[in-house]
């Protein structure tokens, strides 16, 4: 498995193995105290440290980090001016580089998918720090796609808001790389590293809209609460290490299988803390409090990207930790996941009902969607893993497409985020309304969309494990959620009301003047679920940037494609975590 044991291996039991490894240590200054196991100085094993590096596994991260560096270096060396593209169909320079890196990641994910094969062993790369298996490849494809879509919708938005620059794309690329690392991590340390790389990028992206106070507020809140959650996570990791002597999933499970843990308090506490830390990332109730405020305040395209990537990254971590490292404790963690799942599905759906802000509504909807993924995770079966991966992949497209449309209809300066901004959208832009309809129906789980299949597979996974109550709650939540989405859909097809107080949101002077408009638009921000007065929608014509339109088309097409045919579902079936069951 590994040719060199990490010096961090503190358990006395492993010292002897280590000592034999290092028996022929010739380097000067390297001494091993046979009694305490303490190692001092630089040690080389049998002449040299041999660290097996499987570069194929590293390519996605190399591509993403590399692209981030390229953007940074280019922006530092090239003259300072906006690099918007002269052709409407082509996004600006930075967005193009990001999208290309994303495409490269997707392609490499596909290559990996073929490369990893179906052998029963869990292949490791880079020492034993990374996994290189079907699940990794699947998530790499997913994050790559999210990067492409996120970059394309960000371009039009940032140009419109006058914020275009290399920074958000650097952050986005780093964020994707962090998410990839989370999916690849073979131990809690790597997972934490990925989690932090991803989170810190997201904090900065949330706060990126410097002209909106709400954006800064969102970033700050996300940062403070996120740090809190990270602290919880790393404390949990430390406790698990204390209980099992390792932070590597495979070492943890082999320890738990071969040793009966009599006093399991430390292990259980560590598990609970790790679950809580990751549940924060996926915005599961009751760790969801940040989501509405952040979704509402952060720049809209970033929210779509974040909803997809942060959730998927968090779930990748949860899948690995619970199914690979702690399957022996399944009877302990399954009830916790049960509670998180039901609370998320029900509270998410119910709270979304009460929202009048579109982005806030979608935030609660994403909470409820996280609940469905948890329903798939709860049974702890291979079918559940399939369901989780499939659900996340389809959700990526639905949520990014939805936020792409929200970003267009909200108008300049994010002036209109209230529900009535979509009112009469069908009359103003039938294609946009039809696309939004498909994406909303997809999230509601209407048949012939990918959302339906997703809900079907997660609930089927629960039912197959005998979790009838959970399945029932899932269906109940879907019924409530359908109401939320259909309410938005209905608004789109209602006639736009003739407005008495005409507010021209296209006028830049108004949008940033901090006048009446601003105060209404940001009323919910200072932080509560205020009921906004529904106003008539802007009457002006919608301008949809071509890349954004392309993203919407891709997302809609994928939502229908994955809903009526099953290649993606078949792909998800190949994802197994062989150490469990």
């Amino acid at each position: 498995m590994s040719t060199i044991a990490s010096p961090a291996h503190g358990a006395v039991a492993s010292v002897h193995g280590l000592a034999t490894h290092l028996a022929a240590a010739t380097g000067s200054g390297c001494t091993i105290d046979g009694v305490t196991g303490k190692i001092t100085g630089l040690c080389t094993a049998k002449g040299s440290i041999s660290l097996p590096v499987n570069y194929a596994a590293l390519v996605p991260m190399l591509v993403l980090f590399g692209a981030a560096l390229v953007v940074l270096l280019l922006s530092a060396t090239m003259p300072k001016r906006p690099y918007t593209s002269p052709w409407p169909a082509v996004p600006g320079l930075w967005a193009s580089i990001t999208a290309l890196a994303g495409i490269g990641t997707v392609v490499d994910g596909l290559v990996q998918w073929h490369d990893v094969g179906g052998s029963g062993v869990v292949p490791l790369a880079l020492g034993d720090q990374l996994f290189y298996d079907h699940m990794t490849a699947f998530f790499v494809i997913m994050f790559g796609a999210a990067t492409v879509l996120g970059a394309l919708i960000s371009d039009g938005y940032l140009v419109r808001e006058g914020l275009d620059g290399p920074e958000p794309y650097v952050l986005m690329l780093a964020c994707s790389a962090g998410a990839v690392l989370m999916a690849q991590a073979a131990g809690l340390i790597s997972l934490f590293l990925g989690l932090e790389i991803m989170s810190i990028s997201l904090y900065a992206m949330s706060a990126y809209h410097r002209k909106r106070a709400a954006s800064g507020e969102a970033g700050l809140k996300y940062f403070v609460l996120g740090s809190f959650a990270s602290a919880i996570f790393i404390y949990g990791a430390a406790l698990i290490y204390g209980a099992t002597g390792s932070t590597q999933y495979l070492n943890i499970i082999s320890f738990l299988i071969s040793n009966a843990v009599v006093h399991n308090g430390v292990l259980l506490a560590g598990m609970g803390l790790v679950i809580a830390g990751l549940a924060f990332k996926v915005a599961a109730v009751p760790f969801h409090f940040w989501a509405p405020d952040v979704y509402q305040g952060a720049p809209t395209p970033f929210v779509g990207y974040m909803a997809a990537v942060a959730k998927a990254g968090g779930f990748a971590g949860l899948l690995r930790v619970l199914m690979l490292a702690l399957p022996t404790q399944a009877s302990d963690w399954r009830p916790i996941i049960w509670g998180l799942a039901t609370a998320s599905v029900l509270f998410g759906s119910v709270l979304a009902l009460a929202q009048s802000d579109l982005k806030r509504l979608l935030a609660y909807s994403s909470v409820s969607q996280a609940g469905y993924v948890l329903i798939g995770l709860q049974p702890g079966t291979t079918g559940g893993v399939t369901a989780v991966c499939f659900y996340l992949f389809t959700y990526t497209f639905m949520v990014i497409g939805t936020f792409a449309i929200v970003g267009v209809v909200q108008g300049r300066g994010e002036a209109r985020n209230d529900l009535s901004s979509v009112r009469g959208l069908a009359a103003r832009s039938p294609w946009l309304a039809a696309s939004m309809l498909v994406l909303l129906l997809g999230q509601a789980g209407i048949p012939l969309t990918s959302g339906f299949l997703g809900k079907w597979v997660v609930i089927a996974a629960a039912i197959n494990k005998g979790q009838y109550a959970l399945g029932l709650i899932g269906m109940l939540g879907a019924a409530i959620a359908a109401f939320i989405y259909l309410r938005v859909a209905l608004l789109m097809f209602m006639a736009p009301e003739p407005t008495t107080a005409v507010v021209d949101v296209e006028a830049p002077a108004m949008a940033y003047a901090g006048g009446d408009l601003q105060s209404i638009a940001t009323a919910g921000l200072s932080g509560r679920d205020t009921v906004l007065v529904l106003r008539a929608p802007p009457a002006s014509r919608l301008r949809v940037p071509t890349p954004t339109a392309a993203v919407v088309v891709i997302c809609v097409a994928f939502t229908i494609f994955a809903g009526v045919s099953t290649p993606l579902l078949s792909l998800s079936h190949a994802i197994t975590l062989p150490w469990y069951m």
């Binding site: 809140k221 598990m271 809580a276 009460a354």
Partner: protein, 683 residues
């Protein structure tokens, strides 16, 4: 071959999409031609597939082409696929063929209608759904088509939805069909419970490498008689609704409010035969369900007879044809019930030819008569409409069962099967054949012979109504004034395609444009020669031998040649009697004694339904609506809603924007998890 099979389905869908998106821009007549070519292409594709199939050995003619698997989860495999076998090919051939002709006809008929493009959108969608219904390789996919044609029927009956009668008729058709659909759904549940699948190949068996599998191959003990009876009876409930048999036939006459090409296509030739198709498809199951076969035969015979008597007393040219359709569908069910599936389908084919012909002819007449549908005000039209009257005469003789027209051969085959099953059913069938000849002759005499009553003075109100330019407004007016010569509530005159009514004496009625009469001629030829597809002698029974592999359990006719001749001669004699009676009596238009109100009002069945609906049913509905629904159901729904609203408001208090509250919330969640885990320690 494979590509052609997909094209059968894809072309109408393409036509539908093109007309849906660009129809308004294409306008008239391009939208119509797009639709017609889509249908025609589909027909050509069907012919190609059919010819390819003919090249194979008889027992190998079954292909299952899976388009995609919808969700292969658990035990449920919902495949969307096409089943190419003799039965589906027979259906697809005549559906696409007749449909192409009616598309063409509609270009002329719907001329200058404001909804021209919308009409072809529906028409293509209908064709697509109908093809899905007949080519689907499982009950679920077919059911989608089944619902699709139902929806299109709804949209097309109510095509002139500005008229209340049309809208009400559409609703009636839709609601009545729901009753039948419930039967279909329950049958599917039962089938899935018993077979674990809805695929035809797994439920009914199929042909594989020259061998019949499953029930089709007569797998012993495959299914208990009671299960088969239950499934087939429920399927038959669905068939009764779709094919307008007793007691669910009431929607079909009202459906004549739709444009006449619709009546020809959907309510005569294709959609209403879906029930017969379904029962023929379920033939391997019927083999184990004798009780169902009897129910089918009896319901079919009763519908044939009752509808024929009603048709004798109708004055509306389309309503008479509608009741005639119900009657002829009854014959088809009689054949299916008697176990002679091939001849049931044979009659379906010939009926599609001559009934489509009659309806299209009626449409041409209605066109010429400025949207008047009352036969009492027609007459002598053969002098003015030579093509229409000649082709109509062919249809008349064909449906009357006069040799050598198509209807004779198929009706004769059906009656032979009935003779073998039960002499009583046969007797009613023969009597119905006589009635058929009678009412069709009556119709022919009233419309094309006698005096030209439309030139004479008419009651002022009728004239006033008829002379108005057709349009939604005048229609409601006419519906309100009613019509003196019929007992029905008004609304007989279709608001036609928006032609201005010619003033009397100035313009004579004339034959329609070529797009309308070419289909008439083609169908007339088919109605003459149609008997040739299943000629009962010299091994010329192409249809029966083509279908034979799929109906291995079909009743073998054991009627001697002598008896056969006797039966044929007797039936022909009865038909001729009816024909001559009809012609001689209805030289003049007024014979109130022969049109008793009881028959005019369709055995008062609608009145009965209305009395029930307005009496006990309404009372029951009131209880449901005002007590059950308002107090209980609404109470629960509203209660849930207000509970949700309340809890949402409470929880929102926590979501107050302060970081400390959020951190507290997260901390609380963590504490709950850890508290729970303390109970698990040591466990």
């Amino acid at each position: 071959m494979v590509n052609a099979a997909y094209a059968i389905v894809a072309l109408p869908l393409l036509g539908f999409l093109v007309n849906l998106v660009w129809g308004r821009r294409l306008g008239e007549p391009v939208a119509g031609w797009v639709g017609t070519f889509a249908a025609g292409g589909s027909f050509v594709a069907t012919v190609i597939v059919w010819v390819t199939e003919l090249g194979k050995p008889a027992m190998d003619r079954a292909n299952d082409l899976t388009i995609f698997t919808w969700f292969p989860v658990g035990g449920l495999h919902a495949n969307f696929g096409l089943l190419i076998d003799p039965l589906s090919m027979t259906m697809a051939l005549f559906v696409t063929g007749v449909s192409t002709l009616i598309h063409l006809y509609s270009i002329g008929y719907m001329h200058r209608d404001p909804g021209f493009d919308r009409f072809f959108v529906y028409l293509n969608l209908f064709l697509f759904s109908m093809i899905v219904l007949v080519l689907g390789d499982n009950f679920l996919f077919s059911f989608l088509g089944w619902e699709g044609v139902g929806f299109c029927s709804y949209g097309l009956v109510g095509f002139w939805f500005q008229r209340e009668v049309a809208a009400v008729a559409a609703k009636k058709a839709f609601v009545t069909n729901r009753v039948g659909d419930m039967g279909f759904l329950l049958a599917m549940f039962l089938m899935f419970a018993h077979f674990g699948s809805l695929n035809y190949s797994q439920v009914l068996g199929t042909l594989v490498h020259g061998h019949a599998t499953g029930l089709l191959g007569g797998a012993p003990g495959a299914i208990a008689g009671t299960t088969a009876t239950a499934i087939t009876l429920l399927l038959f409930v669905g068939a009764v609704g779709k094919s307008a048999q007793i007691p669910l036939y009431i929607w079909l006459p009202d459906a004549m409010e739709g444009p006449t090409p619709i009546s020809a296509l959907i309510h005569a030739a294709t959609m209403v035969t879906a029930g017969v198709y379904l029962m023929a498809r379920a033939a391997p199951l019927l083999h184990y369900a004798h009780a169902t076969s009897w129910v089918i035969a009896i319901v079919g015979t009763a519908s044939a007879f009752v509808a024929a008597t009603i048709a004798c007393a109708q004055d509306d040219i389309k309503k008479a044809l509608a009741y005639s359709t119900i009657s002829q569908l009854g014959y088809m069910f009689l054949a299916v019930g008697a176990g002679d599936y091939a001849d049931g389908l044979f009659h379906m084919l010939t009926h599609a030819f001559f009934k489509a012909l009659l309806f299209l002819g009626a449409g041409a007449v209605i066109h010429a008569m400025a949207n008047n549908q009352d036969m009492k005000w027609m007459g002598s039209l053969r002098k003015y409409l030579p093509i229409t009257s000649t082709t109509f005469a062919v249809g008349w003789l064909a449906i009357s069962g006069i040799p050598p027209f198509a209807g004779f051969w198929s009706k004769d085959a059906v009656l032979s099967a009935a003779w073998q099953m039960n002499k009583g059913l046969w007797a009613v069938g023969v009597l119905t054949a006589g009635l058929t000849a009678y009412y069709m002759s009556r119709q022919f005499a009233l419309v094309f012979m006698g005096r030209a009553r439309w030139q004479e003075a008419r009651p002022a109100q009728v004239l006033a109504a008829a002379d108005q330019v057709a349009g939604p407004d005048s229609a409601t007016e006419r519906a309100a004034t009613g019509h003196p010569s019929t007992g029905h509530a008004g609304g007989h005159e279709a608001v036609g395609p928006g032609l201005p009514a010619p003033s009397h004496g100035e313009a004579h009625p004339a034959d329609p444009v070529w797009t309308m009469y070419v289909p008439l001629i083609v169908l007339a030829v088919a109605a003459v020669l149609g008997g040739g597809i299943n000629f009962p002698a010299w091994h010329l029974d192409f249809l029966s031998s083509f279908l034979k592999p799929l109906f291995p359990h079909a009743t073998v006719l054991a009627v001697s040649t002598g008896t056969k001749w006797f039966l044929s001669l007797l039936t022909t004699a009865v038909a001729l009697t009816g024909l001559l009676l009809g012609l001689s009596i209805w030289r003049t238009a007024e014979h109130p004694a022969l049109q008793p109100a009881f028959l005019q009002r369709a055995w008062r069945f609608d009145d009965l339904v209305a009395a029930f609906v307005s009496g006990p049913a309404r009372a029951g509905a009131s209880v449901m609506a005002f007590v059950m629904d308002r107090r209980v159901v609404d109470g629960v729904v509203n209660g849930t809603a207000s509970f949700l609203g309340l809890s949402a408001r409470v929880v929102r208090k926590v979501q107050n924007g302060y970081l400390r509250s959020y951190a507290l919330g997260i901390g609380t969640g963590l504490v709950i998890i850890l508290a729970y885990l303390t109970f698990r320690i040591g466990g």
